[in-house]
């Protein structure tokens, strides 16, 4: 394993791979720093640029975006009080007060080095856990895979959004998308509605791009024109100079906090579709609960910054484990990475590491190398990034939509995928307005074919439906999915009882 990792690291040092990795990290940091541009949006923008690259080059660029984006949000969160991404919301709670107290450099670099440390701890988990988990998944038959996918879907449906019913409905709608077109076993046409294009089924990448890009862009567009926010004033005399050794020691003096919050980040990353936005809030909450001085939280305490930033970068490692070992995307960003793999004809899942060791260890290496690159990018460009945040969205959105269109078009060199983009863009925006979360929908679209294939394979092998329950791993996974729905039901009821008046229409990605 270490030999393969070393080969991966040496291979990644070649300019051919290092350049896309560094560029991806830079774009990720900038995208993460831009308020209103999420990591998902950034990776969607980068996707079409990877089509002409070899798989590892493309995946290195995407890994760079993921790592860079997870840290980039902290720059504006600490220095301007505006979280660049949802995964840096909790960083503003203490980062911005610390900066306002006259320590902007300390606030930002505590976040950067905490991201680095958390990311590296997540990397350890990624490297050491992916192989054993993939080996464990190799024991799975179609019953277990079916149950695993059902568990992933039910967990996501229960954990996101403010209504379990809407989460489940969203997941089911995603599955509906996959039943249009030929059936995956015999290729018999079904539900094509007389449309020739549907015979091949609906490709999931234009669906994903359309749903996420339009939901976010149109959500911002509807707030434009009415309440224009004044461009954030950027203090050009701001000093970010700091003793890095001192800041690092400040983090390493709190080993339990760092380990615990990174662990939270990794676990949330492993769970499908929850993502860094939950990781940083939960880690912050845990840090506050475990602190001897919880009253200092929110006033500029370093613990708050360390907890939030270590968790959201460790989360990246966890998400990559799920996609590499099981073929289940941990969040929308890894869903795009899954799509990029599919475009190059590579199947993600338990056999991924053994069949494509160069790419798998290349991803590990890219993940590890992206962290020092991220530190370097922020060191060189933090002040410059503060100016970028003033780029008007009116100029940004048309360019992003052009890149989304090129990304969709290039998938099949056909306009039909662009029409899919538009249709699902409308659908995604409609879902957000109806308060239906998008994450279960996307997971349903990604897993739908796999669920059907494994269900049919299981029944073709042995028609006894009880095997889904009586085979130990399958039974446990199904029991866990029932438990996750029950837990979500209990949690939603508890929240509703506590806040009966809350009936907002929060957009949940």
């Amino acid at each position: 394993m270490f030999e393969l990792l070393w080969q991966g690291l040496v291979g990644l040092m070649a300019l051919k791979y290092l350049a896309p990795l560094a560029l991806g990290t830079l774009i990720g940091v900038v995208g993460g720093a831009l308020p209103g541009v999420t990591i998902t949006m950034t990776i969607i923008i980068v996707l079409p640029f990877t089509f002409g690259l070899d798989p590892l080059q493309g995946l290195a660029a995407m890994t760079g975006v993921y790592v860079g984006g997870s840290a980039g949000g902290l720059v504006t969160a600490t220095l301007l009080g505006i979280p660049g991404t949802p995964s840096s919301v909790a960083t503003t709670f203490d980062g911005f007060p610390m900066a306002r107290k006259g320590e902007p450099g300390r606030a930002m670099w505590l976040g950067v080095w905490a991201s680095f440390c958390g990311g590296m701890l997540g990397g350890l988990f990624l490297i050491f856990a992916t192989g054993p988990l993939a080996t464990f998944a190799l024991e799975f038959g179609p019953w277990e895979f079916f149950s695993l996918f059902i568990l992933a879907l039910s967990m996501v449906a229960g954990l996101v959004g403010d209504s379990l019913l809407k989460g489940l409905l969203s997941g089911a709608l995603g599955l509906v998308v996959t039943v249009l077109g030929n059936d995956p076993i015999l290729g018999a046409p079904r539900l094509t509605l007389g449309i020739e294009f549907l015979e091949g089924g609906i490709p999931f990448l234009p669906v994903l791009i359309g749903v996420f890009a339009f939901a976010q862009i149109m959500g911002d567009v509807e707030r434009m024109g009415r309440a224009r926010r004044a461009a954030q004033a950027v203090d050009r005399t701001l000093s970010l100079a700091v003793s890095h050794a001192k800041v690092l020691m400040e983090i390493l003096r709190r080993p339990f906090l760092l380990l615990w919050t990174s662990f939270i980040g990794v676990v949330i990353g492993v769970l499908p579709a929850i993502g860094g936005s939950a990781a940083n809030m939960m880690a912050y909450d845990q840090a506050k609960k475990l602190s001897r001085h919880p009253e200092r939280f929110g006033t500029g305490t370093p613990e708050g910054i360390v907890a939030s930033e270590s968790a959201n970068n460790a989360n990246v490692g966890g998400s990559l484990v799920t996609i590499m070992a099981f073929g289940i995307p941990g969040d929308a960003v890894t869903a795009v990475m899954l799509g990029a793999l599919t475009i190059h004809g590579i199947q993600s899942g338990p056999l991924f590491i053994s069949q494509h060791p160069k790419i798998a260890y290349g991803i590990f290496a890219a993940y590890l190398l992206a962290h020092p690159i991220m530190v370097l990018v922020i060191a060189l460009g933090a002040r410059w990034m503060l100016r970028i945040v003033t780029v008007p969205k009116a100029a940004l959105f048309p360019v992003v939509l052009v890149l989304c269109t090129v990304g969709a078009y290039a998938l099949g060199n056909a306009m039909s995928t662009v029409y899919v983009l538009l249709i699902f863009g409308l659908g995604g925006y409609g879902m957000v307005k109806a308060g239906i979360p998008l994450a279960p929908f996307i997971l349903g679209v990604i897993l739908g074919d796999q669920i059907e294939t494994n269900l049919v394979r299981a029944v073709m092998t042995d028609a006894d439906p009880w095997l889904f329950v009586t085979r130990p791993i399958s039974g446990m996974l199904l029991a866990a999915s029932v438990a996750s729905v029950a837990l979500a039901l209990w949690q939603h009821r508890r929240v509703r009882r506590r806040a009966p008046a809350d009936a907002g229409e929060g957009a949940d990605f």
Partner: protein
């Protein structure tokens, strides 16, 4: 009366039931114990049930406690959203007819001008430069460096 959730639930249930009905005509295959319609029926039945459940829960919630009217504030600018979707729709029509370069230039300029209407000549110049820059950069990067063949126009052959 049903609210937003109820109407969405009913729409989903209706669409699912129509598709469910279409699956009834699918022929099975003797080689596969469960035919091509089995899984879609399972999924569509579940979706219809969830849609109806959402409609029912909305109806019950409204019966229990009628919702207060939304608080006054800055209402979402749906007209701008509709116009932005319209511009994108026009872009999807223009791509195969005018070609990537002409369509993209027009799209970027139109959407930029729609979202931030230019008033002075300098602002118009900025709109044109953005559209030109985005089009040329996208064309050069994708066509020349990444070998992605972008659409040519039927009318313009460009």
């Amino acid at each position: 009366m049903l609210g937003r959730d109820g109407l969405a639930g009913l729409a989903v249930a209706a669409a699912s039931l129509v598709l469910y009905w279409l699956t009834l005509g699918l022929q099975g295959n003797p080689l596969v114990p469960i035919g091509p319609g089995f899984y879609p029926r399972l999924v569509l039945g579940l979706t219809a049930a969830l849609g109806l459940a959402l409609a029912a829960s909305d109806w019950l919630a409204r019966r229990r406690a009628p919702r207060a009217p939304a608080a006054a504030g800055s209402a979402p600018n749906y007209l701008l959203v509709a116009a932005a979707f319209g511009v994108f729709f026009a872009y999807t029509l223009a791509l195969p007819t005018l070609g990537f370069r002409v369509a993209t230039f027009a799209f970027v300029a139109a959407l930029n001008a729609l979202l931030d209407p230019p008033r002075r000549a300098r602002q118009w110049l900025r709109v044109v430069l953005l559209a030109l820059g985005a089009t040329v950069a996208a064309w050069l990067i994708f066509e020349h460096y990444l070998t992605v063949l972008l659409p040519r126009g039927r009318w313009t052959d460009f």
